[in-house]
Symmetry: D2
Subunit: 359 residues, 4 copies
């Protein structure tokens, strides 16, 4: 990082809204991001503001969001509030000319997302959505491999994100967990699906699906599938990307080998003996597990946010990608409610697809 250059700038003043379950991570990281200065924290609960006071006595605390908007020293606002509040808060922040880093998903509809996106462009503000996984060493490594064409043609993208979670009343498992995988998927593939189909069920809270299977069809033969589940006995976070040359297994629970790259070597054969031999084999090629950078993803993301503000660069997880994520979630949720209907993604989507592919 070009420190010298940075020293020439004044630090970017930052305010955080929402110091609940995810907010503290933003606070901790922003407080240590070079080039940024954490100035204020806002939350409606006093206990959380006390937590800030204790750990960060120099940071101003308030229960009034308007204070942050009115503060000239605050250039950017990081929002970690419930999903249902994102649209309103981001809108006000952008209108006040603040750069915004907001928790995923950006908003609850493509329409809202597109309005916020347009607003950010008009006011020349950076709008970065906190799709944290895009900044992990694992995803960055896989992106590198795929951009280099090491996997060959991509055949399928299979993701499982399940654990024994808690139930939220305002959102189902798709809105809660799927944004992670869909953002990673769009980022890695550089395109969005044409059709979405989802099935699921509610077992504990009638109104809220706690398990869902989302299938996404892309042009040609590329198929993507996602299993999200709040009622799984053990935590699984595994993505398999199948390519004509190589295949990747990204297991976020594997501390020592998060990313494994396998030689594919699928062969056609009719020799039953040969078939039998293969059936009992566990894999048929070599495997390679590259060293993965262990830097905290959120620290990486905060650095990126500051860099975008300074250099006016496009965020890796900007409004275009975030809108595509919400568009897919919307469609998946519609299909889920229809018991598994095939949903085609809206056309207005297309230019953004191009944009995404280009970016």
């Amino acid at each position: 990082m070009p420190c010298v250059m940075e020293e020439m700038f004044v630090d970017v003043g930052i305010g955080v809204v929402g110091c609940g379950y995810w907010g503290p991570n933003l606070v901790r990281n922003l407080a240590q991001t070079r080039g940024a200065k954490l100035l204020a924290c806002c939350d409606l609960e006093t206990s959380r503001l006390d937590w800030v006071r204790q750990g960060y006595p120099a940071v101003k605390v308030t229960a009034d969001f308007q204070e942050l908007l009115g503060d000239k020293q605050i250039d950017a606002i990081a929002i970690a509030t419930p999903i249902s509040t994102h649209y309103a808060l981001v809108k006000q922040a952008l209108k006040a000319g603040k750069h915004v880093l907001v928790a995923k998903p950006l908003a609850q509809s493509v329409a809202e997302c597109q309005e916020l996106q347009a607003l950010a462009v008009r006011n020349n503000c950076v709008l970065l959505v906190d799709h944290t996984f895009l900044y992990t060493g694992a995803v960055r490594k896989i992106k590198e491999l795929m951009d280099a064409g090491d996997l060959g043609d991509i055949y399928y993208y299979d993701s499982v994100r399940i654990n024994l979670g808690l139930f939220q009343h305002d959102t189902n498992v798709i809105w809660d967990l799927a944004p992670h995988d869909i953002a990673i998927m769009i980022h890695l593939l550089g395109m969005v699906p044409e059709r979405v189909l989802a099935v699921g069920a509610s077992h504990v809270n009638e109104q809220v699906e706690n398990i869902a299977y989302v299938t996404m069809m892309f042009r040609e033969r590329l198929l993507a599938h996602l299993h999200v589940n709040w009622l799984a006995p053990a935590k699984v976070r595994r993505t398999i990307i199948g390519g004509s040359k190589r295949m990747v297994v990204y297991d976020d629970m594997d501390m020592s080998e998060k990313v494994k790259i396998y030689d594919s070597g699928a062969k056609l054969s009719n020799d039953p003996a040969h078939i039998y031999r293969t059936m009992v084999e566990y894999r048929t090629g070599d495997m390679y597990a590259p060293k993965i950078d262990k830097t905290e993803a959120l620290a990486e993301e905060c650095r990126h946010f500051v860099a975008c503000i300074r250099d006016g660069a496009d965020p890796i997880s900007g409004a275009v990608l975030a809108t595509q994520v919400v568009g897919i979630i919307e469609a998946a949720d519609r299909s889920l409610k229809m018991g598994g209907s095939m949903e085609h993604l809206h056309r207005p989507f297309v230019p953004e697809i191009a944009a995404a592919a280009a970016s």
Copy 2:
């Protein structure tokens, strides 16, 4: 097993048809099954008959299936030939009054299955389909737990059966791999789904799907899902059964803990701090991994086959279950070809469902 009683019987004379990739396992096990006597092996390839000659010099070898049918000493025939030949061979064997053990799936359509089923009943022959997994210590242990109600209400059944397989020209991945999981599922749940939906893709051989996702809806809120894949980099054989009281993870690749039983304990909460804490936890209850009987499943199955012949008992993996498996596969394949249509299972199915539930 009451050996003394057994001695009172003459051994069941057995002939094996098909000594290719699976046949040798049948030969090896039947040669050692108490109460059975392996008399003859039939195959069209001389090399395979040579293999039999070398290992089992006392066993008669022939390339002519009719010889077996004509042999009065042969009471039962074990068939391990390609799927497309099952119907014809089983039919001839049953018509010749032979008991039959045949590789899965029983046949290529429900119609064929029902005809064979009727024929077996009419000729008072045992018709056992080689759904080997039903005889493993793991599945027997899970069945025991579920029959005792230890899991509570069953919420979902999720199965993944993937590996880097070889491509067959006469069948797709659903017909090849799904019968295993569907048979286990019906056996454990004691009922069959009402609707089936499948999506998939062909990447190597245009006509043959190498990846597929099959969703099965049961009455009420029970959801089942199956991922079968010939193009996966590593072998995965994992079934998760979610219940209101407990959950089971059956990982057939885990040599030391094939079956894990977790306390569920899903809770509703709105406390974001609590939610956060849970998000970072890997599981929220105790886990228990019972000792699993390691007896070879096929040995167990061969004993069961002989016992059914002697006692006239209903096979665990008889024609009813086998027909249900084929019915579901048929529907899944239809849905797959239609690109994900919702297929309702045929009515004639219903009585059998009852039968299955009863058995």
Copy 3:
């Protein structure tokens, strides 16, 4: 925790010495420990003090240790400096009447440890050594099981702590890694070994052993063994405790099942067939993996430190245990230098053993 009562107290004023690689964890935890107030940080490197300034603007920073000793508001000092400095710093702090939390090991010889221990007693100061693992949910759970006698007679204690570490010039792998396991072992067994034997080798730095095997003999048939290694390709942190009734596997790298409890069921037999069956089995009893509390160990320890100061309680990881750890390390190092001699532990040790067993 009885908050009300707590409110009656003034917070314990705390200063931290050494903000290098481990210090920041102490700073972060002490800043959030109820009943404690982080007042000052001391380090010789400006860059580290800057890190404190940025994250904790309210905390006083200084390069002069004496400032902390002179500060009347500071009741306790947490020390996270290189091993070679522990003795001198702890001595000064205790002489100044400060309670002390110091990184492990307490000092570099039993003589030093006993002097510090006596000094703490004389000045009525709490002296807690940062054997962090004793405060993990895993070790607390195992302690609970063993104290309840669930394991039966303890047969052996086997620990492996290896990884690809970096080389330090002032200490070998035994002084670096063994204190963790030896502290856990003494804590769990409630006694210390009678004899120690160690072998090892230096491969990179002639003076510094990077691999070592330490064997410890207890009275009767209890055997303990430790493998510490800086040159292992992958990180292993696994302890096996063998008992007559049950056995425990504590794998600190296993995120979902850190502690596994197995039924032992060792049997005597001469039946070769039986032997064969066992040889091919992976385990012979049931396994149980209890839920483990995920609270950060250091947070637990800081709470305990404050509680000891207030209630005058004996620290779980106090001077007695810490001295025993150093005594064993000393003996092991002697044996290592002699190429594997059998070292008997000093007699003055005995009373402390009793004390440890009692505590």
Copy 4:
């Protein structure tokens, strides 16, 4: 394999002695080894001979070992009897001019081994000891890597072979389990240790140690260590070989990645921050898991036995290696009985070391 050439030979006639727990594997493999013909089986227990009769009706069965020795058609004898009988049976077989394949260990003392070795040489008989692991795909792959120098200088060889086994009255855990690892170690390193030290304990059967740690010192800085245990809750079969360039982890329980090769990259550093970063990393280099040949080791070994008989080649696991194994076991057992004395290996050993290194 040059079949044509083979066809020119008459098959090697083979008799098997001992059809107990390991014998059946020999019978099964020898019955299918090209170039060999299984002619007779000998055992004192009728039930085992019945097993042979049923599975291999063409094979002659007898309870009289002399019959095999007298049978002109029998060129070679495979012995799978209790350790205590090896010496006498091998001696008689070699005197009768039969080639011998015998279960490990070859005999119960170096003296016996050397006598049998001399006898084999004198009678120009092949004497192959069944150190099966040397013929596994995993060990063959590692041997290939080490012979190519891919690991650089070898620093240490660490092996763990533990499980919940059954207790035998005639031998302790070292005699039972250690021969496997010691044979693999000598085979891979191409040399034997100079000194051996062992400690252990008896917990169930006073006379028989059920846990032992064996340390072996080679010239220079090469250190080897072995943990064998009959009272471990779960099966562990893991060998770590540390080299200056690369390190190998050979985990025989890992079905998909038995052999992992890690870049070593050990570095010297004093930067505490850097040290901290490394402490929290799980490994610091790339990892590579080559495809492993899954052929059954015993099948490979039987082929090798026949090839040695035909080509007069030196067996991979011949008398030299087998004698070294017994020599090390003897020394380890002596040390064990002395409570951890340092045992120097006998000089007569030296020439064989050279031989082994050469081979």
